[in-house]
Symmetry: C2
Subunit: 403 residues, 2 copies
Amino acid sequence: MPTHKRILNIGIVGLGIAGASMIPAIIDHPGVRLAAASTRNKERLEKFAKDYNGETYFTIEELCESSTIDAVYIATPTEFHTEHVRIAAEAKKHIIVEKPLSVTLEDAEDMIEIAERNGVQLIVGHSHSFEPPIQKMREIIESGELGKVLMIHNWYYNDWLYRPRTPEELKTELGGGVTYRQGSHQFDIIRLLGGGEVRSIRAVTGIADASRSTEGNHSVFLEFENGIAATAVYNGYDHFHTTDLTFGIGEGGPLTNSNVYGQSRRLIKDTKSQTDEVALKVASGFGGERSKNYKEAEKSHPFFGLTIVSCEKGDIRQHPDGLIVYGEDEKYVVPILKEETGRLNVIDELYRAVVEGEKPVHDGRWAKANLEVCIKAIQSSKERKELYLDHQVPVQSKVGHSI
Amino acid sequence: MPTHKRILNIGIVGLGIAGASMIPAIIDHPGVRLAAASTRNKERLEKFAKDYNGETYFTIEELCESSTIDAVYIATPTEFHTEHVRIAAEAKKHIIVEKPLSVTLEDAEDMIEIAERNGVQLIVGHSHSFEPPIQKMREIIESGELGKVLMIHNWYYNDWLYRPRTPEELKTELGGGVTYRQGSHQFDIIRLLGGGEVRSIRAVTGIADASRSTEGNHSVFLEFENGIAATAVYNGYDHFHTTDLTFGIGEGGPLTNSNVYGQSRRLIKDTKSQTDEVALKVASGFGGERSKNYKEAEKSHPFFGLTIVSCEKGDIRQHPDGLIVYGEDEKYVVPILKEETGRLNVIDELYRAVVEGEKPVHDGRWAKANLEVCIKAIQSSKERKELYLDHQVPVQSKVGHSI
């Protein structure tokens, strides 16, 4: 681990699930310091002050007035991103904004321009291409040892639609549903592995449960400019789960309750009102009773479904200890340290951009390109035809740096 | 099992792998009798006469002159199908012809018309939608208990390209490569489950090994007229195998040597000439030293890769004992008798068509529709665009009859 020239002070804006889950990475990264938080939730602020001895504020404006802070992590709901990015950028704070960046390409472009105008970095994360197994796949692809990539497939069947949701997560026009919320991860993974520049898309999205009337499944076909084919299949209706195919490991590490069938759907059916459902979700935020211990959960790298990369001379998929490479003469495990995490990579990408001057992969234009794929997936399904993409960008920099 | 009004006498034309593999089904079906065979291979004819006490002929013309014979099973190479179907039809024999029916839509249409003109049934098989697990999936879909179908996915990774091949199997223009030879099975399965009428296709096919210069992998996206989405992913380069995801069960039942990595590719690399490779393949035919005991191999229903059907209220996939249904409240196994086989269903479809007057599912027009999907998959990849289909037909009849 190289010496760190400078320590960046980071403030977290919003202490829901996204905000809480980033705390361990900020603490672990040797180049940054968890310096402040803002939220309107007074209890969370008090707990934050007690646990981390950081500055606390009710609003992002107050937090951005603090001269201690070098960068902010914006973990507020999507609809506030444009305003919050503007406030941070104009206060000359570097920015990590939680995905999705926005629901429209126009908002994405506004945020990109305001960050550029103010000379601050804008990184969008955490998304799943930051995860060490995906980064390691990219590294193997770039090494050329398996020849050219032929095709990339990601299949994810789970209970997404029946986890406790805020109302906007179930409204497509507000960026809800699996295509916006989860497709964005699939496309992020696939674009990193395929080189970034998607040429065309053909998709069918589905709304199968009228009581949760947003996309609950999709089948998406992508072709890249370089000829690589990819599919992203998602089904969030809590029937079959791809954890059956991924060593019993999901996004949050090994499953502890995989023997209970359909429990997410049952919990939601038993939840009386939208208020009760939101309360369930809020309880998963910082300090809540359903809050995960993100440090403890990471006993394995997350499996965002089943991803299989086929190259001319071999295939790659995830293994509980890292990756399995199916090469020409043998198959072998490429181990990945458990200490590396996707969220640590988010923080590191910010650090390298700000301190080392490296061009980040997951900048605003990368996120805008992911968003374009989400938007056109839904549009392709409606119009029942193939669509071409206009805002794609290539993968910018090499991966696999050591922190 | 109903009484059989009439016994059909069947003659087999060609005793390669396809011909040999149909023998047990002809023997097992109570409504038909294995009555004759024709092949230019004298040793095979002698063995056939000895084992089954049937009539033997060198040519299809001679076999079709026999007044004993009611129907023929044409298991000759694809390039002879048009001629052999004509000979059989003009001799007023009903016909099962091995898939693929032909390499061009024009040849398919010729065979359909000649069978119609002569008033004989033309059934194309064995293909994998005849398999009992796929038939049972269709039955569950038709029952409506899981609601409408949302999407159907079939993924198959195996060693197809490196199994011993005849030269035409490695030439796309002769119907070789995985898209024609294996895609035809995937599309047959998917079309049966999705209702038959594919609206459009977008595909990318790959040729990654210059020494076997035909399609070795593909990624295919289909949308049906009824809105169902489907993908067919195939990789025959002997790296990752989907048997890892299907309980270690492949097309020929449980694997016995899955611990040897890359052995198909190694065998082919060690094979000195095309003649040696053809000899390896020939040895797998009737009476050959590499010939399978098709009766013994069927300890489990074949898994043609991993097929997952998602409906509004549940998902279905194969299980070693039949199917697993992931329903609204529970998941459960739907058992399927091991005695039922896909090839028995082929014979039964012929029997029902000829004796009961039922319209068969897998007739010439069904096979032509499968062929159209194969042809347009390759064309879509070349032209890099979505294509629309013109020769699709719906699933004709109910499945799940008892023999």
